[in-house]
């Protein structure tokens, strides 16, 4: 259980974290989501006492990090993959960390087995890929068998196999009633990994809810209807209290409407009752990506001139993917 209270961090004129408060509960994976520059890494450094907050405190299982006598036995953290001396072997990196906590060197071999690096552990870290460095970082986080884990962008640099592995590892650790706090700017990754989301933008809390709720609440659902008689259908929909917006006609296809306020079965019934032919009747589920973009549109730190929200009418690959992915998290 982590409790962050009123965290603020200012670097010169720039407010990196702005009165941020949240709780991270054990037994589930909590995603910490925000665009680049939103203050996720800074928040994690504040929580772990690496940076000093201007205001606020963080308690982990009721105690501040600096008060923990052997902190790695309570909290495991992966902050940046390359926080190691490149001239030192992974084994020696883990060994010195173990020695600070009074852990036997046997433990180093155990965590090396966990991340699958035992074979190369005596080589210097300089030759490791980013993905392998991430694995060393995860091994370091698991050294003390901690009940709380903070992972900053752990899937960075991992191959698909590695991503799947860490996703399963986090879920497994959460199922053991550990507290898992994982940051990402990849919305779709969080959709399949996190049970709960804390979303920040420009250092401020934007939303906190379950992943499912987050998608449902922040993406208004619409239905795409394609019909050769779209104009007549639009009138009927309006009469039933729905709102139909004509879409740009696609070449060689019937005119399309984006309908809100009525669900797909109701629209189908209206069409049938009025003998209107439908070519397509497709509920458009908002994706986590879209929900996230809508929510953080005002708070993107380094945004360009292009609109942050993609036009709803052209189903993006994200939309297609998300109709299945949020539900598929086991």
């Amino acid at each position: 259980m982590i409790e962050a209270q009123d965290l603020t961090k200012r670097y010169g004129d720039k407010l990196a974290v702005d009165h941020l408060s949240f709780k991270v509960e054990p037994g589930r994976v909590t995603g910490f989501l925000g665009p680049n520059g939103a203050g996720k890494s800074t928040t994690m450094r504040l929580m772990l006492g690496l940076d000093r907050p201007n205001t606020g405190t963080t308690t982990i299982n009721g105690r501040r990090y600096a008060e923990l006598a052997q902190p790695l036995r309570t909290v495991g953290a992966l902050l940046e993959a390359k926080a190691m001396h490149p001239g030192r072997s992974a084994r020696n990196h883990l060994l010195f960390l173990a020695q600070t906590q009074g852990l036997p060197s046997r433990r180093v071999d155990e965590v090396l087995d966990l991340v699958g690096l035992r074979e190369v552990a005596r080589q210097r870290v300089r030759g490791y890929s980013l993905g392998m460095s991430q694995r060393v970082g995860i091994a370091a986080a698991m050294l003390g068998n901690p009940s709380v884990l903070l992972l900053d962008e752990p899937v960075n640099g991992l191959d698909p196999e590695g991503i799947l592995w860490i996703r399963n590892l986090m879920k497994h650790l959460a199922s053991e009633q550990r507290t898992i706090f994982v940051s990402s700017h990849l919305m779709n990754e969080m959709a399949v990994t996190a049970d709960h989301l804390i979303v920040i933008g420009k250092g401020k809390l934007i939303a906190e809810s379950s992943t499912q709720e987050f998608i449902e609440r922040s993406s208004e659902k619409s239905v795409l209807v394609r019909s050769p008689d779209a104009e007549a259908l639009a009138g009927l929909i309006a009469a039933e209290g729905g709102k139909a917006i004509p879409q740009d006609p696609a070449e060689g296809r019937a005119a399309a409407l984006s309908v809100t306020g009525l669900d797909a079965p109701r629209i189908g019934e209206i069409a049938a009752a009025n003998r209107i032919v439908l070519h397509e009747l497709a509920p458009q589920l908002g994706s986590l990506e879209e929900a996230f973009m809508e929510m953080t549109a005002d708070s993107v730190e380094y945004g360009g001139d292009t609109p942050a929200v993609p036009p709803r009418t052209s189903p993006s690959p994200f939309t297609a993917a998300s109709t299945t992915s949020p539900g598929s998290s086991q």
Binding site: R45, L48, G49, L50, D51, R52, A66, L68, A69, P71, L72, L79, E80, K82, A83, M84, H85, P86, G87, R88, S89, N92, H93, F96, L97, Q99, T100, Q101, G102, L103, P104, R106, R107, E110, D113, L114, V115, G116, L117, E119, V120, Q123, R126, G127, Y128, S129, G131, M132, R135, A140, M142, L143, G144, N145, D159, E161, W165, N168, L169, H172
Partner: protein, 301 residues
């Protein structure tokens, strides 16, 4: 670079660690020893230190004696006759000490430049024990290597100068006189053992001095420049300050005071005794080490 095959698929289950004992400060010292021995820069810097110190002691002593034999006697060569111990301990170790400065700086700045400091501070969030353990382990390493190299340098020089006969020419009461002088050095002569042991002690405190500066500046190049600039340029140049106050300022500068313990005989007008000078050097180093701990506690990592 080295190509490493991708890791094998890994497990998701991990046995719980053995309960283990409370690590305490001993664990931190062990960890610092692991850190310092597991990077190549430590080994290389110490090898350079030993080779430069002993090699230059032998080479410069031999060259100077040769020059004297050939009748080429310059002012700089005079030291080998008037104070051979100081000549032996001052030449090689005078340059070798720079390697100790570099190592002292690297021990801390390499953690900042690589980001390893964040791993260290996550493990020890109280922070200052890291610096204390690092200082103790590094000092223990330098005192062992430093004493070995100081004694080895002395014995190399001793073997070269002992029994060497120099003919000195002088004018006394209108007559030119020649005197044969045999150079003899031994650990048993007054102040000599203290000077050799003191050379190792001086190097140890110098290493801690560099470590403290490294902790304050945090950047390798900047800290090395600062330390070597002080030791080789700024402090010696302060000897040019005028009057009595200038002499006092110079005498109390860290390495100027610290080097007194490496000389067997006092020089004319020396303001501090060897042990007083060493005490002054220790005090400076303790002050800077305290400042390094203070900023470690306060700054963001």
């Amino acid at each position: 670079m080295t190509s490493i095959s991708p890791p094998a698929p890994a497990a998701t289950t991990l046995p719980a660690p053995a309960p283990g004992h409370r690590a305490g400060f001993g664990g931190l010292m062990l960890a610092e020893w692991t850190k310092i021995r597991s990077v190549r820069s430590t080994v290389w810097t110490l090898i350079i230190f030993a080779v430069v110190s002993m090699g230059l002691t032998g080479l410069l002593t031999w060259l100077t004696l040769n020059a004297l034999n050939n009748g080429r006697r310059r002012a700089s060569a005079g030291g080998i006759i008037t104070d051979p111990v100081n000549f032996i301990l001052g030449t090689g170790l005078g340059l070798g000490q720079l390697a100790i400065c570099v190592l002292g700086v690297l021990v801390i700045t390499s953690e900042y430049s690589t980001g390893a400091i964040r791993s260290s501070l996550l493990a020890v969030p109280r922070r200052y024990p890291v610096m204390l353990a690092k200082g103790l382990v590094f000092a223990a390493l330098v005192i062992v290597v430093g004493e070995i190299v100081a004694f080895a340098s002395f014995f190399i020089g001793e073997a070269l100068v002992n029994g060497h006969v120099v003919t000195l020419h002088g004018v006394q009461a209108g007559h030119v006189i020649s005197v044969n002088h045999t150079i003899t050095v031994a650990l048993s002569q007054p102040g000599v053992t203290r000077a050799v042991v003191g050379s190792g002690l001086y190097l140890t405190v110098l290493g801690l001095f560099a470590l403290a500066i490294g902790g304050l500046i945090r950047h390798t190049a900047g800290a090395i420049t600062a330390v070597i600039g002080m030791v080789l340029v700024i402090f010696p140049l302060a000897g040019l300050l005028p009057d009595s106050w200038g002499a006092h300022v110079h005498a109390y500068l860290p390495t100027v005071a610290g080097q007194l313990i490496t000389a067997d005989k006092p020089t004319a007008g020396q303001l501090l005794s060897p042990w007083q000078g060493f005490g002054v050097f220790c005090a400076w180093t303790a002050l800077l080490f305290g400042a390094a701990i203070f900023v470690l506690q306060r700054r963001d990592a």
